[in-house]
Amino acid sequence: MLSARGLTVRYPGAESPALADVDLDVLCGELVALTGPNGSGKTTLVRAILGLVKPAHGDALVDGRSARAWDRRELARAVGVVTQREEVLFPLRVREMVMMGRYAHLGALGAEREVDRVAVHDALARCDVADLADRRVDTLSGGEWQRVRVARALAQEPRALVLDEPTASLDVRHEMEIFELVRKLATSGLAALVVTHQLNLASRYAERVLLLDQGRVAALGPPLEVLTREIVSGTFRWPTTVALGHDGAPQVTPLRPGDHLAATFPTPGHGR
């Protein structure tokens, strides 16, 4: 559903490419976690897949068609996006905010139809924010606000979801709620691409993890193959140890420099 084929992106004036030769396929029903150090190209990859950045080589595809060839309205009906930041200026209510997910289905002057109200109702229910429908969005907590934004993306009735660090600055419970929600949505058939720094949650929720390093794919595969001590330590340039959690998912623990395990810190670049 969301693909990259030899995707290379160069920003003007930059010496090395922001993305180099990235291949990826996010299938319907699959949750792929996209992670990597700051500045490794995660956001660039997401922006390219959404048609906001022009590739230097290769291409980013949505449903087999070049992302930049899509009309924005059509694309909004295929892919729902929750961006990293969004600041609300005017005092909208939750229901109005989620209804904006329907704008790509409405004409410029067309009134809201029954299907639109049903879609909003369903989206609110699926994200467990139906009881907030009449609240003003500026009164929501961080976790509620993120769920409302996911609901708005769902109201678009997309086949794919892209979330850029949806749990940044959320507490444990709200973070878990978001991952549970996205997992449920992926299982119900959506293609989900989630940018996250939460390696341990990526490990437990994602079918596959894409680890980027300096614009290149450091590793791509199931968590057990990607989240190894060598690969994680090498990519993030920090000693870590990896153990299997109670549910069999690899769990990464960053080590302190004096830690006796840190002595075996692999040389940077190893494992790529």
Binding site: L52, R73, F90, A108
Partner: protein
């Protein structure tokens, strides 16, 4: 729907008061009979003098309300008003140049003001289109301020250097007023403003999304660059026309959209028509005050809108923050 009907009623009452008040005070009944029958006693005053003026004030006020609402969404700044695009400076410079260059005759002041305003708009637009074809609203704000300031500086210089006695009139004219209204001006304004009004109303949903930020608007299916350009063009055409017909009338375009947003809805499908009705009604009442308070003299209507609008706004702010 109820509230829109309520606002329409407010607009109608404002218009009735606007037509009724004056040196010959007419009760509402006479206003309506003067409208309905050509042989009614008040017919001449109503039809020839007061109605075109009240309607023009209504349309200009409505236009300023709609433009203010649209521009606040475009630049994502609730402090934006229709003159932020450097229009007022350009219009003032145009008017002053016309008077200073050919005292007495030559270019009609409104036309010169219109040309000045459009020149400023084009200049601001050119400055705001960065890196290829992107219109950057933040740069737009800065460019508007800079161009406006430059035009004002030139205008001041022209005023100091020129000794045209009519320059005081240019000042008065810039402060805003509907003294020169006629059916002809009204007709011109109606014909001219239909397209920008239609454009802005058709962009209502795009404005909702633009107000969320450009990236979010894109992901929700707006052609952001196209929408921004259309909003900019339509709002500046409409504002330039209102400056040309009635000078610079502050606060309507700032206060009215704010009030409507707080009291009713920030969604533009409701906000734009509501700002039109509220802005129109408000300016008709302001103009009525302007020409009756110190009769037979007239206050510039821009003075009244500020004197009335600022306290209203302050009350509104405090009530909603509490």
């Amino acid at each position: 729907m109820m509230r829109l009907a309520g606002l329409a009623a407010f607009a109608l009452i404002a218009l009735t008061i606007g037509v009724g008040a004056g040196s010959v005070a007419l009760p509402p009944g006479e206003v309506w009979s003067g409208l309905a029958r050509a042989d009614a006693p008040a017919s001449l005053i109503v039809r020839n003098l007061r109605l075109p003026r009240a309607l023009l004030a209504f349309l200009v006020g409505g236009g300023l309300g709609v433009c203010g609402a649209a521009l606040q969404a475009l630049v994502r700044n609730p402090l934006a008003d229709p003159y932020l695009l450097g229009l007022s400076g350009g219009a003032g410079l145009g008017a002053v140049l016309a008077i200073a260059a050919r005292p007495g005759s030559g270019w009609p002041v409104p036309l010169a003001a219109f040309v000045g305003a459009m020149a400023a708009v084009v200049l601001v637009y050119r400055l705001s289109v960065v890196s290829g074809r992107r219109l950057d609203p933040r740069v737009l704000l800065l460019a508007g301020v800079v161009v406006g300031a430059f035009a004002s500086a030139v205008m001041s210089a022209v005023i100091v250097l020129s000794d045209a006695p009519q320059l005081r009139n240019a000042f008065l004219w810039l402060l805003g007023g509907f003294t020169a209204s006629s059916w002809q001006t009204l007709g011109l304004f109606v014909v001219y403003s239909v397209i920008p009004f239609a454009m802005l109303f058709a962009l209502a949903r795009s404005l909702d999304l633009l107000a969320l930020g450009e990236e979010t608007a894109l992901h929700l299916g707006t052609d952001v660059e196209r929408a921004k350009r259309l909003v900019y063009v339509a709002a500046s055409l409409l504002t330039a026309a209102s400056v040309a017909t009635s000078g610079i009338i502050g606060f309507v375009g700032l206060v009215v959209p704010h009030a409507v947003r707080r009291l009713w809805s920030p969604l533009h499908v409701a906000l734009l028509p509501a700002s039109f009705l509220a802005g129109g009604g408000f300016l008709v009442l302001a103009d009525t005050l302007a020409r009756t308070v110190i009769r037979p003299l007239e206050l510039p209507v821009g003075v009244v809108t500020a004197l009335v609008g600022v306290p209203l706004f302050a009350v509104l702010l405090r009530r909603n923050l509490a």
